[in-house]
């Protein structure tokens, strides 16, 4: 590790990039209903999500990489939510906060989408009506765990033109020819 004698550290690029990403998630607060109040508590001083580096709510989708959908989403709002999600730059993650965002909750009716996963990908579902801020922090920690286990850089390099890559259970050459079948595709 670093010390006064001009030390250094060695690590893999993946590890350091994942460390940086997971500890500086910037949430896009998609506050649609009462869950948004708990989301404010989650960001506020008492629960202090700054410990996890996520206290900076970004109201511009271009600057955010974690969308917290807090509250019930109507069919009319779904198009706006999806648009904001599409405007966020990759890599991005999503938390469906509360029963309504996850499944429609008590709003079993014509106007409310029965779970936001009907129109956008979701990484973590948080139950509760509304969930306590601790639960949202737990969801954030789950996302951090997920990020730390990703191949954030090496996968990109493989995609670009490594001599051989694994694709759907086949070893494929750079030009796209299947060299050998190794496993059943999942």
């Amino acid at each position: 590790m670093l010390n006064n004698e001009g030390g250094f550290l060695t690590t893999s690029v993946d590890a350091v990039v994942n460390w940086a990403r997971s500890n500086s998630l910037m949430p896009m607060p998609m506050g649609l209903a009462c869950c948004a109040i708990e989301m404010m508590g989650f960001a506020g001083p008492k629960y202090d999500v700054a410990r996890f580096g996520s206290e900076a709510m970004r109201f511009s989708p271009r600057q955010a990489d974690l969308m917290i959908v807090a509250g019930w989403c109507s069919y009319k709002m779904a198009h706006a939510v999806r648009r904001v999600w599409d405007q966020m730059a990759d890599p991005k993650w999503c938390i469906a906060m509360g029963a309504c965002a996850s499944t429609g909750g008590m709003h079993r009716c014509y106007g409310v989408v029965q779970g936001i996963d009907n129109f956008m990908p979701v990484d973590v579902y948080v139950p509760g009506c509304p969930p306590r801020p601790e639960a949202v922090i737990h969801a954030l920690m789950d996302i951090q765990e997920k990020i730390r286990n990703e191949y954030s850089v090496t996968m990109d390099e493989r995609e670009k033109g490594a001599p051989m890559r694994l694709e759907h259970g086949d070893i494929v050459s750079a030009s796209g020819d299947v060299i050998r079948h190794v496993a059943e595709a999942h």
């Binding site: 779904a78 079993r108 009716c109 014509y110 106007g111 009907n118």
Partner: protein
């Protein structure tokens, strides 16, 4: 019915300090004559009802008093004049709320109610207009009470009652291309599959018309 309808009461009512009054249908005849012990005199104003009857005559189709609250039924052609008279001559300057009721009857299916408040005397008056299903059109009172603007838009969106003379009668809550009026009793609570499209799951994909096709007896497309 041969036997006289008795007002229905909760058997435990004798012991309760705050008695619970409810209005089951078969007991309504007896209930109408009872005084509501919780009624406030702010809703009880026979002199206003009488004055309205003298001024507008036959266009007042009826007056009911239930639980010490007066409700004045008005012909729909006269609603704007009644509102203007109440506002300008009788001091009912505030339209506190307005909404619609689907009575689901053969005749006069829809009911539009207006709750007016007199700020000076602190009195309230309820006015109702009934319209048929075939011709659900009511003259707009936006010219008298500007606060009726969004209420009438909501009534159009949810119940499908058109307001003639409204400056901007668009849908209030549902998407503009929605074809139904969801507060009507025949509209299914869970909605009509395909009527409200969701955004596509993949970029440049097709809209999701029905997120639960299997629940509606159809197979998913892919």
């Amino acid at each position: 019915m041969s036997q006289e309808a008795q007002p229905m009461t909760d058997p435990g009512q004798e012991k309760q300090t705050l008695k619970f009054y409810f209005t089951p249908r078969q007991a309504l005849a007896g209930e109408l004559d009872q005084k509501n012990p919780h009624a406030k005199d702010s809703t009880f104003q026979p002199e206003v009802v009488e004055a309205l009857g003298e001024r507008f005559g036959d266009t007042i189709t009826g007056v009911t008093e239930y639980a010490s609250e007066h409700t004045v039924f008005v012909e729909k052609s006269a609603i704007v004049d009644v509102c203007r008279h109440l506002k300008e001559e009788m001091g009912y300057t505030y339209l506190s709320e307005m909404g619609t009721i689907d009575r689901f009857t053969e005749e006069d299916r829809f009911e539009v109610y207006y709750s007016l408040v007199n700020m000076q005397t602190q009195k309230r008056l309820r006015i109702k207009v009934r319209v048929d299903e075939e011709d659900p059109v009511v003259p707009s009172v936006v010219g008298v009470f500007r606060s009726a603007n969004w209420h009438e838009r909501e009534a159009w969106d949810m119940m499908g009652i058109r307001f003639e003379g409204h400056p901007d009668l668009r849908r209030m809550f549902m998407p503009e291309d929605f074809e139904y009026h969801p507060a009507r009793k025949e509209f299914p609570t869970l909605g009509i599959p395909g009527s409200l499209p969701l955004p596509p799951l993949v970029s440049d994909g097709k809209l999701t018309l029905d997120p639960f096709p299997r629940a509606h007896g159809e197979l998913p497309e892919d």
